[in-house]
């Protein structure tokens, strides 16, 4: 009779911040997880495995950006059985992953910015070791939407007490209040984006792809991680239903940051001011 392989204990937990860029924005959570499991093996990292007859590599994921949504701020943590240098892990793992699933930073421990994962926000989505990721800052490019119309829609949305929307999921229709999760939202002024070319963005230095659209508004919003989760697409549904905002082709959404609510709200304001 086969015995399960003995497991070696984890001696180090590394937090990995990674991006989902370019064509890889079309990867789902499960696609990304598979890529990391293979990437960790290709990189030869001493990953810890769970016990039992079907051991799984010990990688835990903070709630991932939805399929078709890009991100500069995804997080996961790796449990390793032999201590590794963070910079080395960053390089090796990045080299072992498909282009577009890019490792940005690897840090020790379960927190980022040196902050422990305490201060779980009431109503926050359950997240193993990622409790401080209370909110996300998103950028949404809306092709074919004029900035003035976007401004009016945003002002109207922020003035609402609630914005009930429905989203069709595999499990049926889900009803959410899109307004409740939105801490901030503003329209970024057009001069941030150079029209007609692939442009560099002041925040992430790259990958703000806006090509050839004559008219496009860019929204920034800070959305709380609630349960059930409100996605940028839910906010866009509300904008469509409340203010008739209909992009000429699918919006391009990017998660720029995740972190504590207070910090993100401040940053969004700053970048908004910087843009104007």
């Amino acid at each position: 009779m086969a015995e399960p392989a003995p497991t070696r204990p984890a001696v180090q937990h590394l937090v990995v911040r990674y991006a989902k860029r370019g064509k890889m924005r079309f990867a789902s959570h499960r696609d990304v997880a598979r890529a990391f499991e293979r990437g960790v093996r290709r990189a030869g990292l001493p990953i810890a495995y769970s016990a039992g007859f079907t051991p799984h590599p010990k990688i835990s994921y903070a709630g991932g950006a939805p399929t078709c949504v890009a991100s500069e701020a995804e997080y996961l943590s790796l449990a390793l059985t032999v201590r590794q240098d963070e910079t080395q892990v960053c390089q090796r793992l990045d080299a072992a992953l498909p282009d577009g699933i890019d490792v940005i930073e690897v840090t020790e421990g379960a927190g980022i910015d040196g902050k422990p994962s305490a201060g779980h926000h009431p109503g926050a989505a359950p997240s193993g070791g990622f409790g401080h990721l209370e909110a996300s800052q998103w950028r949404v490019v809306l092709p074919g939407v004029g900035p003035a119309a976007a401004q009016r829609a945003v002002a109207g949305f922020l003035a609402l007490g609630e914005a009930p929307v429905e989203r069709l999921t595999d499990k049926g229709v889900r009803r959410l209040d899109a307004r409740a999760a939105v801490v901030e939202m503003n329209v970024v002024e057009m001069n941030v984006v150079e029209m007609g070319s692939t442009t560099a963005d002041p925040d992430d230095g790259q990958h703000a792809v806006v090509t050839g659209y004559e008219d496009c508004a860019i929204l920034r919003m800070v959305v709380l991680h609630t349960a059930p989760a409100v996605r940028p697409e839910d906010v866009l549904t509300a904008l469509r239903e409340q203010a008739g905002i209909v992009p000429s082709s699918p919006p391009m959404t990017t998660r720029l940051e995740q972190g504590p609510r207070a910090r993100l709200a401040g940053e969004a304001l700053l970048t908004g001011e910087k843009g104007s």
Partner: protein, 650 residues
Amino acid sequence: MPVESVYPALEPLLPRVRKPIQYVGGEVGSVTKDWDSADVRWALCYPDAYEVGLPNQGIQILYEVLNERAGVLAERTYTVWSDLEALMRENGVPQFTLEAHRPVGAFDVLGVSFATEMAYTNLLTVLDLAGIPLYSAERTDGHPLVIAGGHAAFNPEPVADFLDVVVLGDGEQAVLAITDLIRDWKQAGQPGGRDGLLLRLSKVAYVPRFYDVTYHPDGKISKVIPNHPDVPFTVSKYTVMDLDAWPYPRQPIVPVAETVHERYSVEIFRGCTRGCRFCQAGMITRPVRERSITTIGSMVANGVAASGFDEVGLLSLSSADHSEINEIAVDLADCYEGTNVGLSLPSTRVDAFNVTLADELSRNGRRSGLTFAPEGGSERMRKVINKMVTEEDLLRTVTTAYASGWRQVKLYFMCGLPTETDADVLAIAQLARRVIAAGREAAGRRDIRCTVSIGGFVPKPHTPFQWAAQCPPEVVDARLRALGGALRADRSYGKAIGYRYHDGQPGLIEGLLSRGDRRVGGVILAAWRDGARFDGWSEHFSFERWQRCAEAALAGEPVDLAWYTTRERDYSEVLPWDHLDAGLDRDWLWQDWQDSIAPEGSGVAAEVEDCRWTPCYECGVCPAMGTEIQVGPTGERLDGRRLLPVVGGR
């Protein structure tokens, strides 16, 4: 001339389709070469969904073989699902490759691999979306050459009018020979235009348009003859004779999307001479050519390191038959002990030795299920198909499995085999109950399971059963229902016996496409125009559509769906694939067919041994093809410390 990426036009469509990741490429192991520095450019197509096509070994091997050559570029393309197909048509986005999203119409060659006939309608989707005229005769110098290969290409006649060139057999050397001819022709200033190139290619492959087919008034084929003086009367298959010199895939393409097989696979040998009479693969891939244990070891080590896969499949038509399979299993299990890399032997014969092998390979993991293929329910039936397994063999094998901790055994059978009666199929129920009874005794526990899996038999070209009448779907379905009833009849076995079956109707259309001639091309086109897509997927297959389209397309002919499928052929009939040579002696095939159904006097089918262990029985392949059996043992062993990634070479 630079070729523009279609990605900017495709990207806005992707958020509107299911699983968009399958259309973006970017996989580890994929290669994007510079367009302008290549002089021969291949688009390799597996005409099914990405999730099925990506793991295909044939495409992965040819992809690497071609891309390793300087001046040669190969990219991949798969059939898009209907949601994206509709959006592409609406927005004028052509069929594209995944590497650089180049339009398929810009390539020199569209190479299509047919593992199954049910993908023929998908070929038409790919051609149409690529802007390539469906009929070979309508293509001009600017269009890619459409070249097909794969097992189904051993009778390409139903799709002959849609193909420019067909390659029979192993593709590794064939694609290079074709590449050279295309390059020479281009460098010489394209003498003779498209036909000039096809004429050159007719020396190394089958060019259907250089052959005319004529028919008798009763619908049977009268002749298949070349219509050009320089074209050979028959075309032979390719056989790679040293698998160690072709250690591919070395750098497997690792999908980001989920696919049907998530593992690194090594073909441990090619060919099979077990002589199962229903098995086209075993007949057309002869002789057996083993890959050596040392090459297998280094391919596994390299492949796992390069891919990050945690499962290794040791593939072949009957993997336990490798002359050093025991050493391979033990040594690989040693090398990967405690590493979370799983090893599997997907294709196993009914043989207690296979359980020992499976035990070895599963040292690291869970013993969930083992699969065996007795194929025929009764001993008489198994003799007819030359699957030499007695009931004692089967019971010994499964009790060994249950006793060593395996909880579930899956048994594969076929229904509708030549000479089959209801009793032959019902015998499966009896067998399954004996399996459970013996298994409970051997394991000393009651929670073991046996799943019976059964599908309809489809007679295939180049096999002894190529002359057989296919069993009508009504008969197949009635027998499958009766078997289901018999399996459920005895409550004392309750949930211990599972039952899975495939309906008979898709098999009849597979039969039409397998043994059809050029007139079937009209049926395929009609079905495709009527909306047939992904016919290999039961949820997309419509029997009613195919029946209706066959009736309409064959209305002016003396033949119909039944004529192609449920009709037995006689010795003198010219079969649509008789001019395509797999090396098998036609008279040997006929004798083997006679031996299976009407053996002299005895009433029992005559059995054929395996020529690896008994004298040659003259199937004809080796002398016709200039090949020979290549088996070990080599006497080498694998050592974990020596099993380091090394790049093999030819």
